[in-house]
């Protein structure tokens, strides 16, 4: 039992941490001096299940990602003691807060996703929450419908590879410059890969249905007058209580020479005044577009380049939960996409320079 060891991770230099049991249901209130800062939940057998703070702290001095990763691992090993040894694989990721997770591995040494001991810390290292999974897990082998090569070919052949102007976001992509480029989009219309190799496609939602010309014209007028002199295509106009009483919602996207630019935007009009009462505008409406941009790369070249990047390996993925005598998390061993070393997936290819856009994964540490 590890409640005492948790105290030292919650205390600061000049405070004392105490726990009081709430009821007989395994809940403890956590106090730092006299202030209640959070709660602990125990499992039915009295072992530690989770901790959560109510405290919303402002961080003044942050630790480095490496320090946070190390600290997170120490906390988890300290709190979960013996149990942590069954979770040998550590990952760390920063998303405003820093989360360290310890995962179990299957017989082949591959990580089990989701099922993990986790600690989330403020960037100064103070604990925000600690969680552990309930129950046990089981990994099932399944029948694979295709070889790896077949799967890659099916996947790549299924991509429509639409041309778009997309923002090369500096935070999201390696080498991003925050400007708009003409690209082949390999992510927005990609299928879902099931562990057995089957592909599932999402319905094309670009249908131009239910466009009321009156509201479409008002939208074009508003954008041209007040935002930027750009072409837009109105995707839908919705007049129903779902979008608010007495208002109409118009969804649209910027177009340049017949090619989509950026993401969708919406306007809401008051029916009574026929004026805009709400707007969510994608920054692409204001973006400068390289007028002379025209694709140098062919779709065939994209498919060939992608074939070299795309990789699948056999690893567990989450299937569902079973409740029998015990709570069991069931995993299936099948195809899972594997990303290039040190980088994330390719989301697009620059149609002019042929450069692939890799997702920036530098905030993730995996051991």
């Amino acid at each position: 039992m590890s409640l005492e060891t948790l105290k030292k991770w919650l205390e600061t230099a000049n405070t004392t941490c105490t726990f009081t049991e709430d009821d007989d249901d395994g809940m403890f209130s956590v106090y730092l001096d006299d202030e209640e800062i959070g709660m602990i939940q125990l499992n039915g057998d009295g072992s530690f299940q989770s901790y959560e703070t109510y405290d919303d702290r402002e961080v003044h001095e942050r630790l480095s990602n490496e320090e946070l990763f190390k600290r997170g691992k120490m906390i988890l090993h300290d709190v979960f003691e013996e149990r942590a040894k069954q979770f040998p694989l550590a990952t760390g990721v920063e998303l405003g807060m820093y989360t360290v997770s310890l995962h179990p591995v299957d017989e082949t040494g591959k990580e089990l996703p989701i099922y993990a001991l986790s600690v989330t810390m403020y960037l100064d290292g103070m604990v925000e929450s600690i969680t552990s999974p309930e129950g046990t897990f089981r990994v099932e082998d399944i029948e694979l419908l295709f070889t790896k090569e077949e799967l890659k070919e099916n996947y790549i052949a299924s991509l429509p590879l639409s041309l778009r102007f997309m923002k090369y976001d500096a935070e999201e992509y390696i080498g991003g410059d925050d400007t708009y480029h003409l690209v082949y989009d390999v992510i927005s219309e990609s299928p879902l890969v099931h562990p057995n190799g089957e592909l599932e496609f999402f319905e094309e939602e670009e249908e131009e249905n239910d466009v009321d010309p009156e509201w479409a014209d008002l939208t074009k007028d508003f954008i041209e007058k007040h935002i930027a002199p750009v072409d837009i295509r109105v995707v839908s106009t919705v007049d129903s209580d779902d979008v608010g009483p007495n208002s109409v919602e118009v969804t649209f996207i910027r177009m340049y020479k017949g090619i989509r630019v950026g993401d969708r935007s919406t306007l809401h009009f008051s029916k009574e005044f026929k004026r805009v009462i709400h707007a969510e505008l994608d920054v692409s409406l204001y973006a400068e577009i390289e007028e002379s941009a025209s694709p140098v790369m062919t779709k065939e070249e994209v498919r060939k380049a992608l074939y070299k990047e795309l990789d699948f390996h056999i690893a567990p993925s989450y299937k569902d939960e079973e409740y029998e005598d015990d709570f069991i998390h069931v995993f299936e061993r099948g195809y899972v996409e594997r990303f290039p070393d040190g980088k994330g997936a390719v989301h697009a290819y620059d149609a002019v320079t042929k450069q692939p856009w890799y997702v920036n994964t530098s905030s993730i540490i995996e051991e």
Binding site: P245, S270, I277, L281, V283
Partner: protein
């Protein structure tokens, strides 16, 4: 207890419906499509019905036809659940549908919480029905009070600040789509509990400007102000506060009418990196044009006198936390949302139109 068959005539007009019962749920199928689910409690009493019917629409019902249909429904469904739910309020929703609330009668008083709530579509099809739990315990005692004293305490607890407000006809029963100076009551109403009248904490204002603005703040506010001048050149606004994240800044404005600030907000979100507007929100009433109302304000003392004539003491119910959440009665006050600061006219918020209310026979 319930086999689902007697529900059919209220949940659909189609004939070929298959009923698939299980322990806690009865599903109704039209072909392969589930059109609704009836949920049962441990004793087999209904706890709720939820319709999934979207497509089929039938002709709208007249109020007379609907009330006749309702009587059948009450005999077969409501009374089978508990025949003491005989006080009913039938009202018409803005979308044409009918809300019916059944209240349990206790010693001749209708209980206004723990009600059975039904919603019928305009065509008379039952769309949603929620039942309360069957065993509720009550404490019927109601303290002896001096009504006038309670009213006076209530009025004394109101901050009674004067505000300029647009009285929209869609929102207020007697709305005339003009600007009025009002004493606002609704948002600052005192809380009445077992211990008498308590002053509510005043509403928190949006984050107002700190004393010093950075250069960046000034730049973003200027962009927002310019944008609003373009979009609504006929409307005067003044900035009152801001909020920001790493990516953007939202600036709040208040509509001005002849330099008097209205309680109507506009907000503009600026992307910090690109320095462009990415979000806009305008309270619809900002677009209403008008002039300042005229006339002398009632003094606070006069306003209080008017108010005393426009509020009512009514018995209400609450859950007594100290007594295992038993239902307990207490005296409450029913008040208008606002009162005209010049004429003393009360402004009452519109609710669904009540067609019929009372004990059903």
């Amino acid at each position: 207890m319930t086999d689902g068959r007697k529900w059919l005539s209220y949940i659909t007009y189609e004939k070929d419906i298959t009923i698939q019962p299980s322990e806690e749920i009865i599903e109704f199928f039209y072909g392969a499509e589930v059109i609704g689910t009836l949920h049962l409690d441990e004793e087999g009493f209904p706890s709720g019905y939820y319709s999934y019917y979207e497509a089929n629409q039938y002709p709208a019902m007249t109020e007379g036809d609907f009330l006749a249909r309702l009587r059948e429904f009450e005999k077969e469904i409501i009374d089978m659940f508990d025949d003491s739910y005989c006080y009913r309020v039938v009202s018409r929703h803005l979308d044409g549908g009918f809300y019916v609330e059944y209240r349990k009668m206790i010693d001749g008083h209708p209980l206004i919480i723990e009600t059975i709530d039904a919603y019928f579509r305009e065509d008379g099809i039952l769309y949603q029905l929620d039942f309360p739990t069957r065993d509720v315990s009550f404490n019927m005692t109601l303290a002896e009070i001096n009504e006038m004293k309670l009213k006076e305490e209530y009025v004394d607890c109101l901050p009674l600040k004067i505000k300029l407000q647009y009285i929209n006809h869609q929102l207020y029963e007697n709305g005339d789509d003009r600007f009025h100076y009002v004493y606002e009551i609704g948002n600052n109403a005192p809380f009445i509990g077992n211990d008498g009248v308590e002053q509510m904490d005043e509403e928190e204002e949006i984050s107002m400007f700190e004393s010093s603005l950075t250069t960046d703040d000034t730049v973003f506010i200027e962009i927002a102000r310019k944008k609003l001048k373009e979009i609504m050149p006929d409307i005067c606004v003044s900035e009152v506060g801001k909020d920001e994240t790493d990516e953007d800044m939202t600036i709040y404005f208040e509509r001005l009418l002849e330099n008097v600030s209205l309680d109507l907000h506009v907000q503009v979100t600026i992307d910090k990196k690109e320095r462009v507007m990415t979000g806009l929100y305008v309270n619809e009433d900002c677009y209403a044009l008008g002039t300042l109302p005229e006339g002398e304000f009632l003094s606070k003392e006069e306003a209080k006198k008017h108010l005393l004539n426009n509020i009512r003491v009514i018995p209400n119910w609450t859950y007594d936390e100290e007594e295992d959440s038993r239902l307990t009665r207490f005296w409450d006050i029913e008040a208008p949302y606002a009162m005209d600061a010049v004429s003393g006219e009360p402004f009452i918020l519109r609710s669904d139109r009540v067609i019929k209310e009372g004990v059903r026979k």
